[in-house]
């Protein structure tokens, strides 16, 4: 007799994790909205619109990081193309937002401004139905999902893996970016979509809408964390981890790695797309630079900083790196790339399991702590010393 799904879902997380999620939900859904709407701006506890938007943005990034961790940490597939799925989700929802502008654009016609500018007379065929919210939601899931499925099917079927796969995904990213930079592609070219006015008829710039989007991002993150934990503790997740550690052996036992990898890969892409769809209305713009290879590879470093194969590590990494980015690009714009570069080097050299791994190791020094499960695959080289500084301080990419 199988345990019902709800029970299994509940059992997949330890109690402390449920508690943490509940606290997080309370903050995101009650405390922050209250602090934003009810407290006066003079109050020290007031949460400004900038902070809400920044946090909402980072929550979307965190979803992407968890999706990345699912495929990299648990299936051993390093994708350098997750930015494409993220941006595609954003574009799919952006089409709807563009249609919602209606006649409020600069030219006062139903066509989006950039099409008027290109002297187009009517919407291209792939814009049909984009004024429907439900169709937009369908596209958000279907387009990146289909792209990921087709791409993954070709790649996994011919057993492309490791570094090869990573670079091919980067080539995909590069090609898609070039495609979206063209005006003729029909997605606004260089400028992308911007100047959104409303969602479902409601003003997009109102504080209430901002909080709704923020709350939805938090909800998505919670859902993705629960789903992710459920998947990686299920039999499916165990087979995936086995594929990560020794693909040939798994195949010899009789499993088909292709199907497992493809399923996780497509799911991961769809989660990215959902995050992208929530991201675009919050930041108010989507353009092809979101697809640049550098953006995609940055996602990997969020996961690496937080700790691979931990799920929560992605969230931590996304927050650390993006808060640091906000800080650096405002205060020391010249040093951001140095920081990011040394972060890449430092984390891979000194913190192979990220911040979460470091914390676990520190806890493991105390006698009673249980051994951690689900960590990254064993590495060939010697483990770095446990007392390495946290990534922010490890700017010397020198010897281990």
């Amino acid at each position: 007799m199988r345990t019902p799904l709800t029970v299994r879902l509940f059992q997949s997380l330890p109690r402390t994790a449920w508690l943490a999620l509940a606290i997080f939900a309370a903050i995101a859904w009650i405390a922050i909205p209250a602090a934003h709407l009810l407290l006066p701006e003079s109050s020290a506890l007031h949460v400004s619109a900038y902070t809400v938007t920044l946090m909402g943005k980072i929550l979307c990034y965190a979803v992407v990081a968890v999706a990345m961790d699912l495929i990299w940490g648990y299936a051993g597939i390093l994708s350098l193309g997750h930015g494409v799925f993220f941006a595609l989700g954003g574009y799919a929802f952006g089409m709807y937002l563009m249609r919602q502008i209606g006649t409020d654009g600069s030219y006062g016609v139903m066509l989006p401004d950039f099409m008027v500018f290109l002297d187009w007379k009517e919407l291209p065929w792939f814009w049909i139905g984009s004024d429907s919210f439900l169709w937009a939601l369908f596209l958000v899931v279907a387009v990146p999902g289909l792209l990921a499925f087709v791409f993954g099917w070709f790649a996994f079927r011919s057993r492309i893996k490791g570094v090869y796969f990573s670079i091919i995904t980067q080539a995909l990213t590069y090609a898609t970016m070039l495609l979206f930079f063209r005006n003729e592609t029909g997605f606004g070219g260089n400028n992308g979509f911007t100047d959104f006015k409303r969602i479902l008829g409601y003003d997009i710039t109102s504080p209430q809408m901002r909080l709704v989007l923020f709350g939805l991002s938090a909800a998505l993150l919670i859902a993705v964390l629960i789903l992710g934990r459920y998947l990686v503790t299920s039999k499916f997740g165990r087979v995936l981890a086995a594929i990560r550690d020794a693909e040939s052996r798994v195949r010899f036992i009789g499993y088909q790695p292709t199907q497992y990898k493809l399923a996780m890969w497509t799911l991961s892409a769809v989660l990215c797309a959902l995050a992208g769809a929530l991201y675009v209305p919050q930041v108010g713009i989507i353009n092809p630079s979101e697809m640049s290879p550098a953006n995609s590879i940055e996602i990997a470093v969020w996961v690496a900083v937080g700790g691979r194969g931990t799920l929560i590590g992605g969230v931590i990494g996304a927050f650390i790196v993006n808060l640091a980015k906000s800080f650096f690009t405002v205060s020391f714009p010249d040093y951001w790339l140095f920081f990011l570069g040394f972060l890449f080097i430092g984390v891979t050299l000194f913190l192979p399991d990220g911040v979460v791994g470091l914390w676990r190791k520190l806890r493991a020094r105390r006698p009673a702590a249980p051994a951690p499960t689900g960590t990254a695959p064993a590495v060939a080289t010697e483990q770095p010393a446990a007392d390495t500084p946290p990534p922010a301080a490890s700017t010397q990419g020198a010897r281990a």
Binding site: Y164, A171, V301, L337, F344, I345, A380
Partner: protein
């Protein structure tokens, strides 16, 4: 030349002409009068006459008119105004007192065009070849019937083959408008030797029908000749197009090859994709820039040979950076290829930002030495730029060097051994760790050479290497790891394919199609075009 100096020289020149008597006949008073006429057609005819006559005084008049220095006084005399005084237009002698009521003659665009071709008509007799060539090209595009008396003798007297061909076209072009059908047929046939798209358009215009269904060219024979000539031109243009596509494809291929050769070595030896490989190209390019700067300040006399000095400097600088990277970062990540990918990406960010801090965010200017600028013109107006030719040659040279090193030296043998089977090589005593460092240094150095070559054809800036990592990786994947022949075939194939697709579908679509092609190709042959023979265990 400043205007005043210009005028001064002209005065000197005119004085000389006057002093040594009239070696050339002065233009007639009647021509001068027409030069000042109100009607542009009359003036253009007069200008053409002056051009055909070509005496020094006529040239001076034309120049003055072009500079709007030719003026009409109140009593109807033509004078040339200079900074210091006024000269009589007919004789060139100075006039005193200065005519205050002189009004400069206006020059409209039609007149200016006529002036240019008249000037060209006088220049066609110059002794300097370049002047004659420029004049002939101008005449080919603009000469009218009035210049015929000068074109035909010039064609007969012209010693240079290239200029003769151009002049023949000019004559044919004028004859095409002639009243005699026989002349027109001859001209239409002659124009078939051209490979100029504008000539084709001119011939095609003869075949157009007007509103009443009448051909622009009434004579059927002339039309037939024109049709045959159009076909000939089209064929030649198609061949020229193909040839220039092939050349640009080869040129792109050799750049890809230079970028990918180094990567082929490092990837082959260590199974590590060096994401900072593009930045090693950048290091090489900046090294070239620095060498250029040193030559400018310390050895300005030898500036043309700075590139030769830059080649070893670029190699050594990039090799040093590469070895440093290997020793400090990559070495510690063996067996973890995905982490290496990330760490080398981090290195690339650091290198980019370092270049930005040292040299500024803007592109720096690296000039071609004089012997690399310009080009060789081959048939059908294709010009092969010297810098591209040199890079193709340089790619061959580097390829040869790498081949010699890999096949004929002990180090190369070790590198190949480690590529094929690291553990076994270690067992028989190959110092694999040292080979790794050296191989990485050599791969990086070759990237530096690529950067040095790239600096001659592309922009040199901090982010210049970013675009090359995917391209070089494609070459390595397509060619097969550790295979020189594969890298060459793949680089040239990708270069040609990109350029052919570019001509057909535009640059962006071409890039996308190439990437799609490679993704599909890897489906079929994951080991590349040329795979190493042997048995391997995966995982």
């Amino acid at each position: 030349m400043s205007p005043s100096l210009h005028h001064l020289l002209r005065i000197l020149w005119l004085t000389l002409c006057c002093a040594f008597g009239s070696a050339h006949a002065a233009p007639s008073a009647e021509t001068l009068a027409r030069l000042a006429a109100d009607d542009s057609d009359t003036r253009i005819a007069a200008i053409a006459e002056l051009g055909a006559e070509g005496s020094a005084q006529s040239v001076a008049l034309l120049d003055a008119l072009a500079d709007e220095a030719l003026a009409l006084t109140g009593d109807g005399r033509l004078v040339i105004l200079t900074d210091t005084g006024a000269l009589d237009a007919a004789s060139g002698s100075a006039i005193a007192p200065y005519p205050d009521d002189a009004e400069p003659l206006m020059v409209n665009n039609r007149v200016r065009n006529a002036l240019q071709s008249a000037k060209a008509a006088t220049n066609i007799r110059a002794t300097d070849r370049a002047t004659r060539l420029a004049a002939a090209q101008l005449l080919r595009d603009s000469a009218g019937e009035a210049l015929m008396p000068i074109l035909e003798p010039a064609l007969d007297a012209e010693p240079d083959k290239e200029i003769r061909a151009i002049l023949a076209l000019a004559v044919a072009r004028v004859n095409l408008a002639s009243a005699e059908p026989a002349k027109r047929i001859r001209a239409a046939e002659l124009l078939g030797d051209s490979s100029d798209a504008s000539v084709k358009a001119m011939l095609a215009a003869l075949l157009d029908k007007d509103g009443n269904g009448q051909f622009a060219e009434p004579d059927a024979e002339v039309r037939a000749a024109a049709k045959a000539s159009i076909l000939a031109i089209e064929r030649r243009l198609a061949i020229a197009d193909l040839a220039s596509t092939a050349f640009t494809g080869l040129s792109l291929g050799s750049i890809l090859l230079l970028a990918a050769l180094g990567l082929a070595i490092t990837y082959g030896v260590m199974g590590v994709i060096n994401m900072a490989h593009g930045e090693l190209l950048m290091v090489g390019a900046y090294a070239t820039y620095v060498v250029q700067g040193l030559f400018r300040t310390h050895l300005p006399g030898y500036i043309d040979s700075y590139v030769l000095a830059a080649v070893p400097v670029a190699f050594l600088t990039a090799a040093a950076v590469g070895m440093l990277m290997e020793r400090t970062v990559i070495r510690w990540l063996y067996g973890r290829p995905l982490e290496t990918l990330l760490a080398t990406w981090g290195l690339s960010l650091v290198l980019i930002q370092t270049a930005r801090v040292i040299f500024g965010p803007q592109n720096v200017e690296v000039a071609n030495p004089s012997w690399m600028s310009g080009g060789v013109s081959s048939f059908a107006d294709i010009v092969l730029p010297w810098n591209r030719l040199v890079i193709i040659g340089f790619a061959i040279f580097v390829l040869l060097l790498v081949w010699l090193m890999m096949q004929k030296t002990r180090l190369g043998m070790f590198v190949r051994a480690v590529t094929q089977n690291r553990a076994m090589a270690g067992c028989v005593g190959v110092p694999t760790a040292r080979i790794d460092t050296l191989a990485f240094g050599i791969g990086a150095g070759i990237a530096g050479l690529g950067g040095c070559a790239l600096s001659q054809v592309a922009n040199v800036g901090p982010a210049m290497g970013q675009g090359y990592i995917v391209d070089s990786f494609m070459v390595v994947v397509l060619g097969g790891v550790g295979q020189l022949a594969g890298a060459v075939t793949a680089a040239m194939g990708l270069g040609l394919m990109t350029k052919i697709l570019e001509g057909w579908a535009g640059a962006v679509v071409a890039k996308i199609l190439v990437l799609v092609f490679i993704i599909i190709f890897i489906q079929k042959r994951p080991q590349g075009l040329f795979a190493l023979k042997g048995r391997f265990v995966e995982d």
